[in-house]
């Protein structure tokens, strides 16, 4: 049982972080407003979770200017993808173990 729990990385212990990673797994680049809309989150809350994910190199932040407006978009890193996939597998295992 222990090794299964290990896979449930502490990094993904919040609902919002799971959501951010889920969206970034299936989309190349997503901007802040789109993320906000999908996840139904407040600016501050979303920003702080993004910062945490960025700090651990799970996502990369792209900043660019569209005309004069700054536009920030996010992308999952290979490491982020790998860890999130592991996390999903962990969840799946846990559930199928209980079902048996």
């Amino acid at each position: 049982m222990k090794h299964i729990i290990d896979n449930l990385s502490k990094l993904f212990d919040s609902r919002l972080r799971l959501g951010i990673m889920a969206v970034l797994m299936v989309n190349d680049k997503v901007d802040f407003n789109a993320l906000k809309e999908y996840l139904d989150a407040s600016d501050g809350n979303l920003a702080s979770h993004i910062k945490a994910l960025e700090k651990h190199d799970l996502i990369i932040v792209h900043k660019q200017f569209v005309g004069r407006k700054p536009k920030t978009s996010y992308e999952a890193t290979p490491l982020g993808r790998q860890l999130f996939q592991k996390h999903l597998d962990g969840l799946n295992n846990l559930i199928s173990n209980v079902k048996q």
């Binding site: 609902r15 799971l18 889920a22 989309n27 969840l91 559930i95």
Partner: protein, 212 residues
């Protein structure tokens, strides 16, 4: 955390992945509407080429292939084709818009944009190809070319919407390829591909995703 919570989490992750990457507003009724328009307009063209009768497909095809590209009849048929296209796209858009309202989804987001770009790039290529066929007077390939290109366009865009679109695309491609060997029956293949298949897959999608 207990199992139920883990299960909820997984379900939520899955739904988020779907919602953020696929245009789920696309309504089955759009297919039914576009298919009905295609059948009405296609039948009208059949009747018009047959001089006010529904002549046999082979006779109609022979009439059609004998038409000079700059004749009044041919121009009239081009107008009918343009009207069909506009009306089919318009009605498809209307039902999809209605569906997005009903489900509280945003109609214009990144997935809709991806869907439309990936649909229209091969579709426009197919349209230009078909115009070139007309330019060279090779009308006998029109039904097959439009079906194959339309199928490829659907297949290409299907990554960004409901799974059924993928199978609709594959069906259109197969139908188009088969029609190459039955040149005299182009109008029938066209009615099945753009009319019947749209209606059938539209109803399937409606039953699966929209009926409550």
């Amino acid at each position: 955390m207990n199992t139920q919570e883990h299960l909820n989490q997984l379900t939520e992750i899955k739904s988020l992945m779907e919602r953020s990457s696929r245009c789920l507003s696309l309504s089955g009724l759009s297919g039914v509407a576009a298919g009905s328009v295609a059948i009405l307009c296609g039948s009208y063209a059949w009747w018009y080429i047959g001089n006010g009768t529904f002549a046999s497909p082979v006779t109609v095809t022979n009439h059609f292939l004998a038409l000079p590209v700059n004749s009044q009849t041919f121009l009239h048929l081009l107008m009918v084709a343009a009207f069909t296209l506009v009306f089919a796209i318009g009605s498809a858009f209307f039902f999809t818009w209605q569906n997005s309202q009903k489900k509280g989804l945003k109609i214009w987001d990144a997935s809709t944009k991806n869907f439309l770009i990936n649909l229209f790039l091969p579709l426009i290529a197919g349209g230009l190809f078909s115009l070139a066929l007309i330019y060279h007077g090779e009308l006998y390939l029109l039904a097959s070319a439009t079906l194959v290109f339309y199928g490829l366009a659907l297949l290409n865009a299907s990554r960004y919407t409901h799974k059924e679109i993928r199978y609709l695309g594959i069906s259109e491609i197969i139908l188009g390829l088969v029609s190459m060997y039955f040149i005299g029956y182009g109008i029938l293949f066209w009615l099945v591909g753009f009319g019947l298949l749209h209606i059938v897959y539209g109803l399937l999608m409606y039953a699966k995703h929209e009926k409550v």
